[in-house]
């Protein structure tokens, strides 16, 4: 007779929303009927790179809250930025040293109170004060992961001259047309200019007709040579495993993953230089979650256990000094440089161009791609 009672009470308006939801839920219509916010609100909404949504990267958070944050995956920071500007309510975003400034300029960030992060004291001091972590005197990004962008290649499939003298020019070389891949990013133009002999520091903020001419020359050449432009590392990984792609712009994890699969793979140190990036977590002011949850998420990312996983599984570096002590010594050995200071001194660190320059370069790159046939 439960049913009759329920209907009677419903007629009298005595059924609470919770009971109504429970009853509706019994028929599987609960969440479909009411907006998401009305049910259990998401603990946290994060904009994240593909792959980093894996729960092993924020285990302490999982242990405390019992469920993962609501993730939205992006392929590039500009895309994530546009999404937030269009009204996507995210609490946490995972930008990098060269891109966090865009979020600050857009007025979307909240300064981080480092006192609320339990692992802050164990962070490499150089990262704590690096440009990108601190913007206009505020800590806007909690540094978490760092690594490289360089050329991953199949030593069994490239020409001997590349093995002797690795160079970014492989991505623009006619001999490799249809056998290489790059990230879908205006970096294709900048790296082309580096192949032509310019310094990264001089080309990262190039604008106007100069950049347009460079795009017509190097961007076009890069597009003509590339089999496809990658936006998710998985597509690239599959193509390199099959031998479709013999060399590509890639991050460290691709090399580690393919090596674990038994594919012959190596990571080049090109003569024009390899890139170093470091990324971290930024609090956004667009979300609706409790900021305690956001701080817990940041803390989970800074935990040495997360660092151990990054080092062991992906070959990335971590911002927490302690993570190198507990990581697999073989993996640390494999990384080569384990000190971010030494790493940044021996490689090119990605730089942030001014907002207007970034927008112009993105536009020129997108237009160039659109006209490719």
């Amino acid at each position: 007779m439960q049913r009759h009672k329920f209907v009677d009470r419903m007629y009298q308006g005595k059924v609470s929303r919770r009971e109504m939801m429970k009853a509706a839920g019994a028929f599987g219509v609960g969440t479909a009927m009411l907006p998401r916010m009305a049910t259990a609100a998401d603990i946290l909404t994060c904009l994240e790179w593909g792959g980093y949504d894996d729960p092993s990267y924020y285990q302490p958070f999982m242990a405390k809250y019992g469920e993962a944050p609501n993730f939205s995956i992006f392929a590039g920071e500009e895309e994530a930025l546009a999404k937030v500007l269009a009204g996507f309510a995210a609490d946490v975003m995972h930008p990098c040293n060269y891109s966090v400034g865009r979020f600050v300029s857009a007025g979307l960030t909240v300064p981080i109170d480092t006192g609320r992060l339990t692992h802050w004291d164990d962070i490499f001091p150089v990262l704590k004060s690096a440009q990108g972590v601190v913007v206009n005197g505020d800590v806007v990004m909690a540094p978490a992961d760092w690594g490289n962008s360089s050329i991953a290649y199949r030593p069994d499939l490239v020409e001997p001259d590349f093995l002797e003298d690795p160079s970014w020019s492989i991505l623009y070389d006619d001999r490799y047309a249809g056998r290489v891949s790059t990230l879908d990013n205006e970096l294709v133009v900048q790296i082309g200019l580096m192949v032509a002999g310019q310094k990264y520091e001089d080309v990262y903020d190039m604008t106007g007709p100069e950049f347009e001419a460079a795009a017509q020359e190097w961007g076009k050449k890069g597009l003509d040579t590339a089999r496809f432009l990658w936006t998710d590392a998985t597509t690239l990984q599959q193509a390199m495993a099959s031998g479709e792609i013999v060399a590509a712009y890639a991050w460290n994890d691709l090399v580690g993953n393919l090596r674990n699969e038994g594919v012959p793979i190596a990571y080049a140190n090109p003569k024009e230089g390899m890139f170093t990036w470091f990324c971290g977590l930024t609090l956004l002011n667009t979300g609706s979650a409790d900021d305690a949850a956001a701080y817990d998420f940041l803390d989970a990312w800074l935990a040495p256990e997360t660092g151990k996983l990054l080092i062991d599984e992906s070959g990335y570096g971590h911002a927490n000094m302690k993570s190198f002590d507990i990581a697999d010594p073989a993996a640390v050995e494999n990384m080569g440089l384990t000190d971010p200071v030494a790493m940044m001194e021996t490689s090119l660190i990605f730089l942030t161009p001014p907002d207007a320059v970034q927008e112009e370069q993105t536009r020129i790159w997108e237009d160039l791609k659109a006209l490719q046939f």
């Binding site: 500007l85 496809f228 432009l229 997108e366």
Partner: protein, 326 residues
Amino acid sequence: MVEVADTAVRAGLSGPRHPADPARRREARAGYGLMSPALLLMVAVLALPLAALIVLSFWTQSGFTLDRTFTLANYWRLIAPSDREVEWMGLTFRLAYPVPAILIIKSLVMSLTATVAVILLAYPMAYFLAFRVHRNKAAWIILLTVPFWTSYLLRVFSWKVVLGYNGAINSGLMSLGIIDAPLEFLLYNPAAVTITLAHSWVSFIVLPIYVSLEKIDRSMLEAASDLGDSKWKRFRRITLPLSMPGTISAALLVFIPTVGDYVTPELVGGPGGTMIGSLVQQLFTKQNNAPLGAAVSLVMMLIIGAMVLIFLTLIGYWRMRARRAA
């Protein structure tokens, strides 16, 4: 769609209407009543977003802020001339921002090709179904819908597997010893996009053509044969013209949605396979210029609308001429 145009033409020929007639008005009211659920839905999910898009296209984006003053700048940008010449596939564009114009032409050509391919593939299937299948027709029709049981995304992705570097075609040809190295022209180009579009729309198109073939009065075919028409002549003079309404609506059904397709070029298009939908997506996201994206999509809509109207008018004209000749 064709039926609608047809009725309009006939209504136009049959003299003025009588809106004052009370019976007619009652009928109209009942009609609106019956339509209202669908009408409300259309207003909520089609008309309102479209209106928002129109409003947006008259604003401008500068950096992170949206400038809400009314301007035609976005539309002007699409047609603004320039001294600079951009060469594309033998065509010369003298535009300051030639990207949308070029991509619109490219998309129209690609989906016209796909449409023709779809019709050529679907017509024989529909013909077979209408004239040769006598038993278990329902089973045949259900079999035709099987591709719809999986998502569109999966169907596109499976083409990636078929056409890919170590995909079905390449490994098949290699194991037969016909080729030594995988063929690379199969994937990541406009042809791959066109093939994928053609395949994914074929099953959509068989049904409308089948319906119009099925409706053909068989005694007309017998009469044609009795009067000495050959099989081919009979097809050309009876079957083809009478199946035109279904074929035309099928063509529109493929052409209109494929022009703006975004997911297919994204997955199988590679660097050169982009279409106008890809540009709209880029403008709304990575380039953070929603107003320009809105203007591009509206112009695209107008162009498709105009093309369909011209197409239908031509057909109406041909039909009238044919009737007069008869």
